[in-house]
């Protein structure tokens, strides 16, 4: 751990920002085409972010500000942990549990800030977001535990390395199809895409957790959104799609997966929050357990 | 229905008690008792402390207990402690009756007026009954009877007076004094025995010749005390029962 690591980390952040924001922009276009619209330009997302950042804003007290800083800080810290292909800013920190728990700091910060605004709509949004999290994370983690048991590693790069060299069929997604399906369903929840997007639910609650934000706060939250999307999709790419032997391979896989998830999201209606919980605890959790038991007791697909 | 159930239950219970008692061969059948197997054997020959083969009426003297009446010898000598307890039971019962009823102030009125014969007859017969009672407890060591029957007789004499005269009231304070005196003396005799010979209620007097009136050591003395005590206690009970609640 020396100064170079931090420089790499900074560069990584900048890269992820550029990369992910572009992908988001492209995806907006893709979505528009799906819905038979023209859609915005691919760099529209950059414009949105910088515009928000340059506007004036209001604040509701120090926790409102602090929450945003903590959220973005936490998410950025988490982003630093994610390896891009073989490239890692720091060694030995891409442990899946560290990633997922550190991710929670960002979530918590945002939730705190939202509630700190004093607007009940924000609190309601937070409560839904947290409930959603309880739903999607558990099946995913059960899956992860069985993977750790099978592969004796818990780092993202470790998972990725184990899948490389056997072609597409070496990917965990194909070796453990049940698990792969579960992972994708959970990813959909993590990303807050339909059918699991009721916590943002623009049409129902005034505007979900973000209702009070404007200006620099909103801009930072846009950033946060981009980073967290990157983290979540990357985890799946690493664990189920073999990561990347080169950064480019990783980026291609990443872009395809993200677009795929977006397209799925485009064709679904929305679950109510309790329906989402019920769904997650019925289907994906059961599948995750089945997959886990298969892995643990039969070793099918492990080697 | 309930009665029948109870009868059946008690029938079954009785059956088991019978079979439990009589199936045991060690339980001697009625009348087939062999006293040699019982402690009473030694009471008959009066040889608990000294070995005697045969005790003869009017001849044997200075035995461990001088009573010609074996029952009396047991009651007042061998198991005198039981008798002290017995006296105490009576004492405490009469005390209890007094505690319960003694506070009542009223008098029981007869529904009839005692006629002349009854009144005079009662007064005449009273000393005779009392005297008989006294006779019985004085001769307790020689003849059937003793302190308890004698005392009861005295009490019954008093009861007769109550029946005959509704205005009659026994002088309870003197009876109480007698009771207290007799009881205390009984205990003191026992303690005297303890002091002189080391055994409580020891027969420290010469037991004389069996069959004599003045024999058997402390037995007649104790029986007299018991008689007095029983008489006064029963009188007390009777007196208390004749009280009624005062209407307020």
């Amino acid at each position: 751990m020396n100064i170079m690591n931090f420089i790499y980390a900074f560069l990584l952040l900048v890269f992820v920002f550029l990369f992910q924001t572009s992908i988001t922009g492209i995806n907006r276009k893709v979505m528009a085409r799906l819905q038979r619209r023209r859609g915005p330009k691919w760099y529209q997302q950059f414009i949105d972010i910088f515009k928000a950042m340059s506007k004036s804003s209001t604040t509701h007290g120090w926790i409102f500000d602090f929450g945003v800083i903590m959220a973005l800080g936490g998410i950025m810290a988490t982003t630093i942990l994610i390896p891009i292909g073989p490239f890692k800013a720091f060694a030995d920190v891409d442990n899946i549990f560290i990633v997922s728990y550190l991710l929670a700091v960002g979530m918590l910060g945002m939730a705190m800030s939202a509630s700190g605004s004093g607007n009940p709509w924000a609190s309601i949004g937070v409560s839904r977001a947290l409930t959603n999290m309880l739903a999607y994370d558990v099946p995913f983690m059960v899956l992860i535990v069985s993977f750790i048991y099978a592969f004796k590693t818990s780092s993202l790069s470790g998972f990725a390395a184990l899948q490389q060299g056997a072609g597409i069929l070496g990917w965990n997604f194909f070796r453990f199809p049940l698990g792969g399906i579960v992972a994708l369903i959970c990813l959909q929840g993590m990303l807050g895409k339909k059918p699991f997007d009721s916590f943002i639910a623009p049409a129902e609650i005034a505007s979900g957790p973000m209702v009070e934000y404007g200006g620099r706060h909103l801009g930072m939250l846009f950033l946060l959104h981009e980073f967290s999307t990157f983290i979540e999709v990357s985890i799946i790419v690493h664990i189920f799609f073999g990561g990347g032997a080169t950064p480019l391979e990783f980026m291609v896989k990443y872009a395809l997966l993200y677009t795929f998830m977006n397209i799925i999201s485009g064709v679904f209606p929305r679950f109510k929050i309790d329906q989402a919980v019920k769904f997650y605890y019925k289907v994906p959790l059961a599948l995750a357990f089945i997959q886990g038991l298969i892995i643990i007791f039969t070793g099918l697909g492990v080697s | 229905m309930k009665r029948i159930a109870v009868i059946i239950l008690l029938g079954v219970l009785g059956f088991f008690i019978f079979s439990g008692i009589y199936s045991n061969e060690a339980f001697t059948e009625f009348g087939n008792v062999d006293l040699n197997n019982r402690v009473s054997n030694k009471f008959i020959t009066k040889s608990v402390t000294d070995e005697n083969d045969i005790v003869e009426f009017g001849k044997s003297s200075n035995l461990e207990t001088g009573s010609a009446n074996y029952v009396t010898s047991i009651v007042v000598n061998y198991r005198s402690f039981d008798t002290l307890g017995e006296v105490t039971v009576l004492f405490i019962s009469s005390l209890g009756v007094a505690l319960l009823l003694g506070t009542l102030g009223g008098k029981l009125t007869h529904k009839y007026r005692a006629n002349f014969i009854l009144r005079v007859g009662a007064k005449t017969i009273f000393p005779l009954i009392a005297l008989t009672g006294i006779y019985i407890f004085i001769h307790g060591h020689l003849t059937p009877g003793g302190g308890f029957p004698g005392g009861s007789m005295i009490a019954s004499a008093v009861l007769l007076l109550y029946l005959a005269d509704e205005n009659f009231r026994a002088k309870m304070s003197s009876f109480k004094l007698a009771e207290s005196f007799a009881g205390s003396l009984y205990v003191l005799i026992g303690i005297f025995g303890l002091l002189t010979s080391g055994y409580f209620l020891n027969n420290f007097m010469n037991t004389g010749v069996i069959g004599d009136l003045f024999s058997a050591g402390i037995i007649p003395i104790v029986y007299v005390l018991v008689g007095l005590k029983v008489g006064s206690e029963l009188t007390g009970i009777i007196t208390d029962f004749l009280k009624v609640e005062v209407d307020e």
């Binding site: - | 109870v6 008690l10 009473s40 020959t45 009756v97």
Partner: protein, 114 residues
Amino acid sequence: MIQYVSIVLMLIGIYGLLIDRNIIKIIVALNIFEVGLNIFIVSVGFVSGGVAPILTSVNSNSALIYVDPLPQALVLTSIVIGLGTTALALAIARKMYNAYNSLDLDEIGGMDND
């Protein structure tokens, strides 16, 4: 025979205790029980052909067959104790009559009606 009767008497006394609701009758039943018991006690000491356990000028010798004197002594105690409890029971019965104006246990009322 007398022994059997005594046990039956005791059972009759118990029957009375079980059936009767009247205090006085209960006391009577108790006395029946005690009488039965006392007869049983005495009967335990009976010896066929034995004489009353008193030395007299007629039965002047301890070598004769006497009935067991010990149960007789015991029964004396038992009777007196029975007398004492009966007296006390009657006194309590009178107090109960004064307090509850009834001699019937059902009428007097249950545990929790104090």
